[in-house]
Protein backbone atom coordinates (compact mmCIF):
# COMPACT_ATOMS: atom_id res chain seq x y z
CA UNK A 1 0.00 0.00 0.00
CA UNK A 2 1.41 3.34 -0.95
CA UNK A 3 1.90 5.99 1.63
CA UNK A 4 -0.82 8.60 1.79
CA UNK A 5 0.31 12.01 0.73
CA UNK A 6 0.18 14.35 3.67
CA UNK A 7 0.75 18.02 4.07
CA UNK A 8 2.87 19.59 6.76
CA UNK A 9 1.59 22.53 8.70
CA UNK A 10 3.04 24.93 11.23
CA UNK A 11 1.70 25.23 14.74
CA UNK A 12 2.77 27.92 17.13
CA UNK A 13 3.14 26.50 20.59
CA UNK A 14 3.38 29.53 22.78
CA UNK A 15 4.39 32.13 23.80
CA UNK A 16 1.38 31.60 26.03
CA UNK A 17 0.74 27.89 26.23
CA UNK A 18 0.17 25.80 29.34
CA UNK A 19 3.03 23.45 28.55
CA UNK A 20 5.84 25.88 27.82
CA UNK A 21 6.46 26.95 31.41
CA UNK A 22 6.38 30.62 30.74
CA UNK A 23 6.84 32.38 27.50
CA UNK A 24 8.74 30.08 25.22
CA UNK A 25 7.45 29.82 21.71
CA UNK A 26 8.08 26.66 19.76
CA UNK A 27 7.31 26.81 16.08
CA UNK A 28 6.41 23.23 15.28
CA UNK A 29 6.25 21.88 11.78
CA UNK A 30 3.86 19.01 12.08
CA UNK A 31 2.82 16.15 9.90
CA UNK A 32 -0.49 15.24 11.43
CA UNK A 33 0.32 14.63 15.08
CA UNK A 34 3.99 14.11 14.44
CA UNK A 35 6.48 16.87 15.07
CA UNK A 36 8.86 17.13 12.15
CA UNK A 37 10.78 20.24 13.05
CA UNK A 38 11.08 22.41 16.13
CA UNK A 39 12.20 25.98 16.03
CA UNK A 40 12.40 27.65 19.43
CA UNK A 41 11.71 31.37 19.43
CA UNK A 42 12.90 33.02 22.61
CA UNK A 43 13.30 36.53 23.92
CA UNK A 44 9.82 37.11 25.29
CA UNK A 45 11.34 37.54 28.72
CA UNK A 46 14.53 39.30 27.70
CA UNK A 47 14.86 41.91 30.43
CA UNK A 48 18.47 42.91 29.75
CA UNK A 49 19.69 41.86 33.17
CA UNK A 50 23.27 41.82 31.91
CA UNK A 51 23.05 45.40 30.73
CA UNK A 52 21.47 46.54 33.98
CA UNK A 53 24.18 44.83 36.01
CA UNK A 54 26.78 46.98 34.31
CA UNK A 55 25.11 49.98 35.90
CA UNK A 56 24.97 48.61 39.43
CA UNK A 57 27.51 48.09 42.17
CA UNK A 58 28.32 44.52 43.05
CA UNK A 59 25.92 44.15 46.00
CA UNK A 60 23.17 45.79 43.93
CA UNK A 61 23.54 43.10 41.30
CA UNK A 62 22.44 40.32 43.61
CA UNK A 63 18.69 41.12 43.58
CA UNK A 64 18.87 41.11 39.80
CA UNK A 65 20.48 37.70 39.95
CA UNK A 66 17.46 36.54 41.96
CA UNK A 67 15.24 37.44 39.05
CA UNK A 68 17.57 35.85 36.56
CA UNK A 69 16.59 32.39 37.82
CA UNK A 70 13.82 32.67 40.33
CA UNK A 71 13.05 29.02 40.94
CA UNK A 72 16.44 28.41 42.52
CA UNK A 73 17.48 31.94 43.25
CA UNK A 74 19.76 30.88 46.11
CA UNK A 75 22.10 29.39 43.55
CA UNK A 76 22.12 32.55 41.48
CA UNK A 77 22.95 34.52 44.60
CA UNK A 78 25.69 32.06 45.33
CA UNK A 79 27.21 32.11 41.88
CA UNK A 80 27.42 35.88 41.76
CA UNK A 81 28.68 36.23 45.32
CA UNK A 82 31.26 33.55 44.63
CA UNK A 83 32.47 35.32 41.51
CA UNK A 84 32.76 38.64 43.31
CA UNK A 85 34.60 36.98 46.20
CA UNK A 86 37.05 35.36 43.83
CA UNK A 87 37.64 38.68 42.10
CA UNK A 88 38.24 40.57 45.31
CA UNK A 89 39.83 37.71 47.24
CA UNK A 90 37.30 37.72 50.09
CA UNK A 91 37.27 34.86 52.57
CA UNK A 92 33.84 33.66 53.63
CA UNK A 93 33.34 32.71 57.30
CA UNK A 94 32.80 29.07 58.15
CA UNK A 95 29.25 29.44 59.45
CA UNK A 96 28.21 31.37 56.37
CA UNK A 97 29.49 28.55 54.16
CA UNK A 98 27.40 26.03 56.06
CA UNK A 99 24.33 28.24 55.86
CA UNK A 100 24.90 28.67 52.15
CA UNK A 101 25.05 24.93 51.59
CA UNK A 102 21.88 24.38 53.62
CA UNK A 103 20.00 27.02 51.68
CA UNK A 104 21.32 25.90 48.30
CA UNK A 105 20.26 22.33 48.89
CA UNK A 106 16.88 23.30 50.32
CA UNK A 107 16.34 25.36 47.23
CA UNK A 108 17.32 22.46 45.03
CA UNK A 109 14.68 20.32 46.72
CA UNK A 110 12.09 23.06 46.29
CA UNK A 111 12.92 23.34 42.61
CA UNK A 112 12.75 19.59 42.06
CA UNK A 113 9.39 19.49 43.80
CA UNK A 114 8.10 22.06 41.34
CA UNK A 115 9.57 19.95 38.56
CA UNK A 116 7.76 16.90 39.87
CA UNK A 117 4.45 18.68 39.97
CA UNK A 118 4.74 20.48 36.69
CA UNK A 119 5.91 17.42 34.80
CA UNK A 120 3.05 15.37 36.13
CA UNK A 121 0.63 18.11 35.17
CA UNK A 122 2.04 18.32 31.68
CA UNK A 123 1.41 14.62 31.30
CA UNK A 124 -2.16 15.05 32.46
CA UNK A 125 -2.04 14.10 36.13
CA UNK A 126 -3.33 17.06 38.06
CA UNK A 127 -2.97 15.84 41.61
CA UNK A 128 0.84 15.42 41.85
CA UNK A 129 1.18 19.07 40.92
CA UNK A 130 -0.53 20.11 44.12
CA UNK A 131 1.32 17.53 46.16
CA UNK A 132 4.65 18.87 44.94
CA UNK A 133 3.72 22.43 45.72
CA UNK A 134 2.32 21.46 49.11
CA UNK A 135 5.63 20.03 50.30
CA UNK A 136 7.46 22.97 48.78
CA UNK A 137 5.60 25.23 51.17
CA UNK A 138 7.53 23.74 54.10
CA UNK A 139 10.77 24.82 52.51
CA UNK A 140 9.40 28.20 51.56
CA UNK A 141 8.44 28.66 55.20
CA UNK A 142 12.04 28.04 56.20
CA UNK A 143 13.28 30.62 53.72
CA UNK A 144 10.70 33.10 54.86
CA UNK A 145 11.74 32.56 58.45
CA UNK A 146 15.34 33.26 57.52
CA UNK A 147 15.26 36.05 54.99
CA UNK A 148 11.67 37.24 54.88
CA UNK A 149 10.99 36.37 51.26
CA UNK A 150 9.18 33.46 49.74
CA UNK A 151 10.75 33.46 46.34
CA UNK A 152 13.47 35.98 45.53
CA UNK A 153 15.67 35.73 48.55
CA UNK A 154 18.66 38.03 48.14
CA UNK A 155 20.10 36.01 51.00
CA UNK A 156 23.58 35.02 49.94
CA UNK A 157 25.62 38.21 49.76
CA UNK A 158 29.18 38.97 48.79
CA UNK A 159 31.23 37.79 51.76
CA UNK A 160 28.62 35.73 53.54
CA UNK A 161 24.88 35.69 54.07
CA UNK A 162 22.54 38.54 54.88
CA UNK A 163 21.40 37.38 58.31
CA UNK A 164 21.65 34.52 60.72
CA UNK A 165 19.04 31.82 61.00
CA UNK A 166 16.52 32.12 63.83
CA UNK A 167 16.85 29.59 66.69
CA UNK A 168 13.81 27.56 65.66
CA UNK A 169 15.21 27.06 62.17
CA UNK A 170 17.18 23.89 62.85
CA UNK A 171 14.34 21.84 64.44
CA UNK A 172 11.87 23.11 61.83
CA UNK A 173 14.29 22.22 59.08
CA UNK A 174 14.77 18.69 60.36
CA UNK A 175 11.02 18.30 60.62
CA UNK A 176 10.52 19.53 57.06
CA UNK A 177 13.19 17.16 55.78
CA UNK A 178 11.50 14.28 57.53
CA UNK A 179 8.13 15.16 56.04
CA UNK A 180 9.58 15.50 52.57
CA UNK A 181 11.49 12.24 52.91
CA UNK A 182 8.30 10.46 53.89
CA UNK A 183 6.20 12.07 51.21
CA UNK A 184 8.78 11.17 48.61
CA UNK A 185 7.65 7.59 49.03
CA UNK A 186 4.10 8.69 48.28
CA UNK A 187 5.27 10.43 45.16
CA UNK A 188 7.07 7.36 43.98
CA UNK A 189 4.04 5.26 44.73
CA UNK A 190 1.83 7.60 42.76
CA UNK A 191 3.83 7.68 39.54
CA UNK A 192 6.93 5.48 39.39
CA UNK A 193 5.14 2.21 38.71
CA UNK A 194 2.07 3.67 37.09
CA UNK A 195 1.74 1.89 33.72
CA UNK A 196 0.44 4.99 31.98
CA UNK A 197 3.31 7.04 33.36
CA UNK A 198 5.82 4.40 32.24
CA UNK A 199 4.37 4.34 28.76
CA UNK A 200 4.43 8.09 28.52
CA UNK A 201 8.01 8.53 29.70
CA UNK A 202 10.09 5.40 29.24
CA UNK A 203 12.04 5.40 26.00
CA UNK A 204 10.70 8.82 25.04
CA UNK A 205 13.06 11.61 24.12
CA UNK A 206 16.33 9.74 24.20
CA UNK A 207 19.22 12.19 24.50
CA UNK A 208 22.57 10.56 23.61
CA UNK A 209 25.50 11.51 25.78
CA UNK A 210 27.70 12.84 22.96
CA UNK A 211 24.95 15.10 21.67
CA UNK A 212 24.32 16.35 25.18
CA UNK A 213 27.98 17.19 25.75
CA UNK A 214 28.38 18.85 22.40
CA UNK A 215 25.37 21.08 23.07
CA UNK A 216 26.58 21.97 26.53
CA UNK A 217 23.67 20.27 28.25
CA UNK A 218 24.40 19.95 31.95
CA UNK A 219 22.98 19.00 35.28
CA UNK A 220 20.37 16.29 35.82
CA UNK A 221 19.68 16.01 32.10
CA UNK A 222 23.33 15.24 31.40
CA UNK A 223 23.57 12.79 34.28
CA UNK A 224 20.45 10.99 33.14
CA UNK A 225 22.27 10.36 29.86
CA UNK A 226 25.02 8.54 31.67
CA UNK A 227 27.66 11.24 32.07
CA UNK A 228 28.90 11.27 35.63
CA UNK A 229 29.62 14.95 36.12
CA UNK A 230 28.50 17.16 38.94
CA UNK A 231 30.13 20.52 39.56
CA UNK A 232 29.54 20.16 43.30
CA UNK A 233 31.93 17.21 43.28
CA UNK A 234 34.16 17.78 40.27
CA UNK A 235 34.84 21.50 40.54
CA UNK A 236 34.11 21.95 44.23
CA UNK A 237 32.90 25.30 45.46
CA UNK A 238 31.83 26.36 48.92
CA UNK A 239 32.29 23.35 51.25
CA UNK A 240 30.71 20.55 49.28
CA UNK A 241 33.86 18.44 49.54
CA UNK A 242 33.28 17.98 53.27
CA UNK A 243 30.05 16.04 52.96
CA UNK A 244 29.41 12.44 52.24
CA UNK A 245 26.98 12.04 49.36
CA UNK A 246 26.68 10.44 45.96
CA UNK A 247 26.05 11.77 42.51
CA UNK A 248 23.09 9.84 41.09
CA UNK A 249 23.64 8.77 37.50
CA UNK A 250 21.28 7.00 35.13
CA UNK A 251 22.02 5.70 31.69
CA UNK A 252 19.00 5.62 29.40
CA UNK A 253 18.70 9.34 28.83
CA UNK A 254 14.93 9.21 28.40
CA UNK A 255 12.18 11.13 30.13
CA UNK A 256 11.73 8.47 32.78
CA UNK A 257 15.38 8.57 33.79
CA UNK A 258 15.41 12.33 33.95
CA UNK A 259 12.39 12.17 36.20
CA UNK A 260 13.82 9.47 38.47
CA UNK A 261 17.17 11.18 38.69
CA UNK A 262 15.62 14.30 40.12
CA UNK A 263 13.84 12.29 42.77
CA UNK A 264 17.20 10.68 43.62
CA UNK A 265 18.75 14.11 43.87
CA UNK A 266 16.16 15.14 46.42
CA UNK A 267 17.28 12.24 48.62
CA UNK A 268 20.94 13.20 48.26
CA UNK A 269 20.15 16.81 49.07
CA UNK A 270 18.37 15.73 52.22
CA UNK A 271 21.51 13.81 53.15
CA UNK A 272 23.73 16.85 52.61
CA UNK A 273 21.47 19.16 54.59
CA UNK A 274 21.34 16.78 57.53
CA UNK A 275 25.13 16.64 57.65
CA UNK A 276 25.38 20.40 57.35
CA UNK A 277 22.87 20.89 60.16
CA UNK A 278 24.89 18.54 62.34
CA UNK A 279 28.15 20.32 61.63
CA UNK A 280 26.86 23.88 61.76
CA UNK A 281 29.54 25.87 63.63
CA UNK A 282 29.12 29.09 65.59
CA UNK A 283 30.71 32.28 64.41
CA UNK A 284 30.41 35.18 62.02
CA UNK A 285 28.04 35.06 59.13
CA UNK A 286 29.54 37.75 56.98
CA UNK A 287 33.03 38.94 56.20
CA UNK A 288 33.59 42.66 56.39
CA UNK A 289 32.89 43.93 52.91
CA UNK A 290 32.27 47.54 52.06
CA UNK A 291 29.04 47.94 50.08
CA UNK A 292 30.99 49.99 47.61
CA UNK A 293 33.97 47.69 47.34
CA UNK A 294 36.18 47.82 44.28
CA UNK A 295 37.69 44.52 43.22
CA UNK A 296 40.96 44.78 41.30
CA UNK A 297 40.78 44.57 37.52
CA UNK A 298 40.47 41.01 36.36
CA UNK A 299 37.98 38.45 35.25
CA UNK A 300 36.46 35.30 36.57
CA UNK A 301 33.98 32.69 35.50
CA UNK A 302 32.32 31.07 38.47
CA UNK A 303 29.87 28.24 38.24
CA UNK A 304 27.64 26.25 40.50
CA UNK A 305 25.44 23.25 40.01
CA UNK A 306 21.84 24.25 40.32
CA UNK A 307 18.78 22.16 39.70
CA UNK A 308 18.87 22.86 35.98
CA UNK A 309 22.52 22.31 35.38
CA UNK A 310 25.51 24.55 35.22
CA UNK A 311 24.76 28.04 36.39
CA UNK A 312 27.63 30.31 35.56
CA UNK A 313 28.47 33.96 35.80
CA UNK A 314 31.34 35.63 34.00
CA UNK A 315 32.40 38.92 35.54
CA UNK A 316 35.01 41.25 34.20
CA UNK A 317 36.05 44.04 36.52
CA UNK A 318 37.87 47.20 35.52
CA UNK A 319 38.75 48.21 39.04
CA UNK A 320 35.69 50.36 39.70
CA UNK A 321 32.76 49.56 41.97
CA UNK A 322 30.68 48.39 39.03
CA UNK A 323 31.35 45.33 36.92
CA UNK A 324 32.44 46.01 33.35
CA UNK A 325 30.58 43.00 32.09
CA UNK A 326 28.36 40.38 33.65
CA UNK A 327 27.38 37.43 31.55
CA UNK A 328 25.00 34.87 32.94
CA UNK A 329 24.78 31.35 31.70
CA UNK A 330 21.91 29.11 32.68
CA UNK A 331 21.47 25.43 32.11
CA UNK A 332 18.15 25.87 30.34
CA UNK A 333 19.79 27.94 27.60
CA UNK A 334 21.73 24.99 26.30
CA UNK A 335 19.01 22.47 26.96
CA UNK A 336 16.52 24.43 24.90
CA UNK A 337 19.17 24.74 22.24
CA UNK A 338 19.58 20.98 22.10
CA UNK A 339 15.84 20.29 22.01
CA UNK A 340 15.36 20.63 18.23
CA UNK A 341 18.12 18.09 17.65
CA UNK A 342 16.69 15.19 19.61
CA UNK A 343 13.08 16.11 20.21
CA UNK A 344 11.78 15.70 16.67
CA UNK A 345 10.01 12.77 15.08
CA UNK A 346 7.80 12.35 18.09
CA UNK A 347 4.15 13.01 18.69
CA UNK A 348 3.21 16.37 20.08
CA UNK A 349 2.27 14.76 23.40
CA UNK A 350 5.80 13.40 23.68
CA UNK A 351 7.25 16.78 22.92
CA UNK A 352 5.39 18.11 25.93
CA UNK A 353 6.88 15.32 28.04
CA UNK A 354 10.39 16.01 26.76
CA UNK A 355 10.05 19.72 27.30
CA UNK A 356 8.79 19.14 30.81
CA UNK A 357 11.54 16.73 31.81
CA UNK A 358 14.24 19.01 30.48
CA UNK A 359 12.91 21.37 33.16
CA UNK A 360 13.41 24.47 31.09
CA UNK A 361 12.45 27.77 32.58
CA UNK A 362 12.55 30.82 30.41
CA UNK A 363 14.18 33.58 32.48
CA UNK A 364 17.35 31.54 32.39
CA UNK A 365 17.18 31.45 28.63
CA UNK A 366 16.19 35.02 27.94
CA UNK A 367 17.72 36.80 30.92
Amino acid sequence: MGKLKTEEFVVNMGPVHPATHGVCRLMLTMDGEKVVKIEPVIGYLHRAIEKICENRTYPQCIPLMDRFEYVTSMSTNQVFAQAAERLAGIEVPERAEYLRVIMLELNRIASHLIFYGVTAMDLGALTPFLYGLREREYIVDLFEMTCGQRLTYNYIRVGGVSRDIPPQFVPKCREALKIIGDKLRDYEGLLNENPIWLRRTRGIGHLPADLAISYGVSGPVLRASGVDYDIRRDDPYSIYDRFDWEVPVRHNGDCYDRYLLRLDEIKQSIKIIEQALDGLPEGDIKAKVSPNFKPPAGEVYSRVENSRGEMGVYIQSDGTNKPLRVKCRGGSYNQLQALPHFGTDVLVADLVAIFATLDIILPEVDR
Binding site: G43, K51, R86, G89, Y229, V300, Y301
Partner: protein, 156 residues
Amino acid sequence: MTKEELTNYISSTYGSQLKPLDTGRHDPLFEIEPKDLVSVCRALCDDEKVKFNFLCNISAVDTKEKFEVVYNLASLPNKLRLDLKFSMPYENAEIDSVQEVWSGANWHEREIWELYGINIRNHDNLTRFLLPDDWDQGFPMRKDWDAPDFIRMPEK
Protein backbone atom coordinates in the same frame (compact mmCIF):
# COMPACT_ATOMS: atom_id res chain seq x y z
CA MET B 1 45.85 17.56 36.97
CA THR B 2 46.06 20.72 39.03
CA LYS B 3 45.76 24.25 37.71
CA GLU B 4 49.50 24.78 37.63
CA GLU B 5 50.07 21.56 35.75
CA LEU B 6 47.38 22.53 33.30
CA THR B 7 48.96 25.96 32.76
CA ASN B 8 52.35 24.35 32.20
CA TYR B 9 50.95 21.73 29.88
CA ILE B 10 49.07 24.27 27.78
CA SER B 11 52.07 26.60 27.64
CA SER B 12 54.38 23.82 26.56
CA THR B 13 52.06 22.19 24.04
CA TYR B 14 50.23 25.17 22.56
CA GLY B 15 52.81 27.80 23.48
CA SER B 16 53.01 29.20 19.97
CA GLN B 17 49.30 29.99 19.81
CA LEU B 18 48.27 30.56 23.42
CA LYS B 19 49.79 33.21 25.70
CA PRO B 20 49.03 33.10 29.42
CA LEU B 21 47.34 36.19 30.85
CA ASP B 22 47.45 37.24 34.50
CA THR B 23 43.97 38.76 34.78
CA GLY B 24 42.25 35.44 35.33
CA ARG B 25 41.37 35.23 39.02
CA HIS B 26 40.40 31.61 39.53
CA ASP B 27 41.09 29.54 36.43
CA PRO B 28 43.90 29.61 33.88
CA LEU B 29 43.34 32.28 31.22
CA PHE B 30 45.09 32.35 27.86
CA GLU B 31 45.14 34.80 25.03
CA ILE B 32 44.56 33.48 21.55
CA GLU B 33 44.97 34.92 18.08
CA PRO B 34 41.61 35.15 16.29
CA LYS B 35 42.95 33.37 13.25
CA ASP B 36 43.95 30.30 15.31
CA LEU B 37 40.65 30.10 17.13
CA VAL B 38 38.95 27.18 15.40
CA SER B 39 42.08 25.06 14.98
CA VAL B 40 43.17 25.49 18.60
CA CYS B 41 39.68 24.81 19.89
CA ARG B 42 39.55 21.68 17.79
CA ALA B 43 42.90 20.58 19.14
CA LEU B 44 41.92 21.31 22.75
CA CYS B 45 38.71 19.39 22.29
CA ASP B 46 40.43 16.36 20.78
CA ASP B 47 43.58 16.32 22.93
CA GLU B 48 43.19 13.21 25.09
CA LYS B 49 45.37 14.72 27.83
CA VAL B 50 42.99 17.63 28.51
CA LYS B 51 39.92 17.01 26.34
CA PHE B 52 38.01 20.25 26.71
CA ASN B 53 34.81 18.85 25.26
CA PHE B 54 32.36 21.11 27.09
CA LEU B 55 31.76 24.74 26.21
CA CYS B 56 30.36 26.53 29.24
CA ASN B 57 29.95 29.98 27.93
CA ILE B 58 30.98 32.57 25.42
CA SER B 59 30.87 36.19 26.43
CA ALA B 60 31.67 39.29 24.49
CA VAL B 61 32.95 42.28 26.44
CA ASP B 62 32.96 45.90 25.40
CA THR B 63 35.85 47.51 27.24
CA LYS B 64 35.13 50.97 25.75
CA GLU B 65 38.28 50.63 23.59
CA LYS B 66 37.90 47.25 22.01
CA PHE B 67 35.86 44.08 21.99
CA GLU B 68 36.97 41.04 23.83
CA VAL B 69 35.49 37.59 23.44
CA VAL B 70 35.95 35.03 26.19
CA TYR B 71 35.45 31.30 25.86
CA ASN B 72 34.98 29.34 29.07
CA LEU B 73 35.79 25.70 28.52
CA ALA B 74 35.51 22.69 30.74
CA SER B 75 36.64 19.13 30.44
CA LEU B 76 34.13 16.59 31.68
CA PRO B 77 36.39 13.52 31.83
CA ASN B 78 39.42 15.33 33.27
CA LYS B 79 37.50 17.82 35.42
CA LEU B 80 39.45 20.88 34.28
CA ARG B 81 38.60 24.47 33.49
CA LEU B 82 40.22 26.82 31.02
CA ASP B 83 39.42 30.27 29.67
CA LEU B 84 40.42 31.58 26.26
CA LYS B 85 40.24 35.19 25.29
CA PHE B 86 41.02 37.46 22.37
CA SER B 87 40.49 41.09 21.60
CA MET B 88 39.74 42.96 18.42
CA PRO B 89 39.09 46.54 17.38
CA TYR B 90 35.64 48.08 17.10
CA GLU B 91 35.62 48.42 13.34
CA ASN B 92 34.50 45.41 11.33
CA ALA B 93 34.60 43.15 14.33
CA GLU B 94 34.36 39.60 13.11
CA ILE B 95 35.04 36.19 14.60
CA ASP B 96 34.93 32.61 13.42
CA SER B 97 32.20 30.36 14.62
CA VAL B 98 33.28 27.49 16.82
CA GLN B 99 30.08 25.55 16.42
CA GLU B 100 31.81 22.86 14.43
CA VAL B 101 33.75 22.06 17.62
CA TRP B 102 30.96 22.57 20.14
CA SER B 103 27.50 22.69 18.61
CA GLY B 104 26.26 24.53 21.68
CA ALA B 105 28.16 27.63 20.63
CA ASN B 106 25.39 28.36 18.16
CA TRP B 107 23.10 30.41 20.36
CA HIS B 108 25.90 32.08 22.30
CA GLU B 109 27.36 33.40 19.07
CA ARG B 110 23.98 34.40 17.76
CA GLU B 111 23.48 36.43 20.90
CA ILE B 112 26.85 38.14 20.47
CA TRP B 113 25.93 38.99 16.92
CA GLU B 114 22.60 40.38 18.00
CA LEU B 115 23.57 42.36 21.07
CA TYR B 116 27.09 43.50 20.13
CA GLY B 117 27.01 43.54 16.37
CA ILE B 118 30.07 41.33 16.03
CA ASN B 119 29.81 39.39 12.83
CA ILE B 120 30.18 35.63 13.03
CA ARG B 121 31.75 33.83 10.08
CA ASN B 122 30.46 30.37 9.12
CA HIS B 123 27.43 30.58 11.35
CA ASP B 124 24.41 28.73 10.03
CA ASN B 125 21.61 30.78 11.52
CA LEU B 126 22.32 34.42 12.19
CA THR B 127 18.82 35.69 12.91
CA ARG B 128 17.37 37.90 15.58
CA PHE B 129 16.05 36.07 18.61
CA LEU B 130 16.32 37.95 21.88
CA LEU B 131 15.21 41.39 20.80
CA PRO B 132 11.80 42.17 19.30
CA ASP B 133 11.48 41.32 15.63
CA ASP B 134 11.11 44.96 14.64
CA TRP B 135 14.09 46.18 16.68
CA ASP B 136 15.89 49.04 14.92
CA GLN B 137 17.87 50.71 17.67
CA GLY B 138 21.26 49.17 17.12
CA PHE B 139 23.25 46.96 19.44
CA PRO B 140 22.12 47.54 23.00
CA MET B 141 24.96 45.89 24.87
CA ARG B 142 27.58 48.26 23.50
CA LYS B 143 28.76 50.78 26.04
CA ASP B 144 28.07 53.76 23.83
CA TRP B 145 24.57 52.59 22.95
CA ASP B 146 21.80 55.04 23.62
CA ALA B 147 18.13 55.27 22.85
CA PRO B 148 15.52 57.97 23.39
CA ASP B 149 13.70 56.13 26.17
CA PHE B 150 16.75 54.62 27.80
CA ILE B 151 17.37 55.88 31.34
CA ARG B 152 21.02 55.70 32.24
CA MET B 153 22.11 55.48 35.84
CA PRO B 154 24.24 58.43 36.93
CA GLU B 155 27.94 57.67 36.79
CA LYS B 156 29.11 57.83 40.39
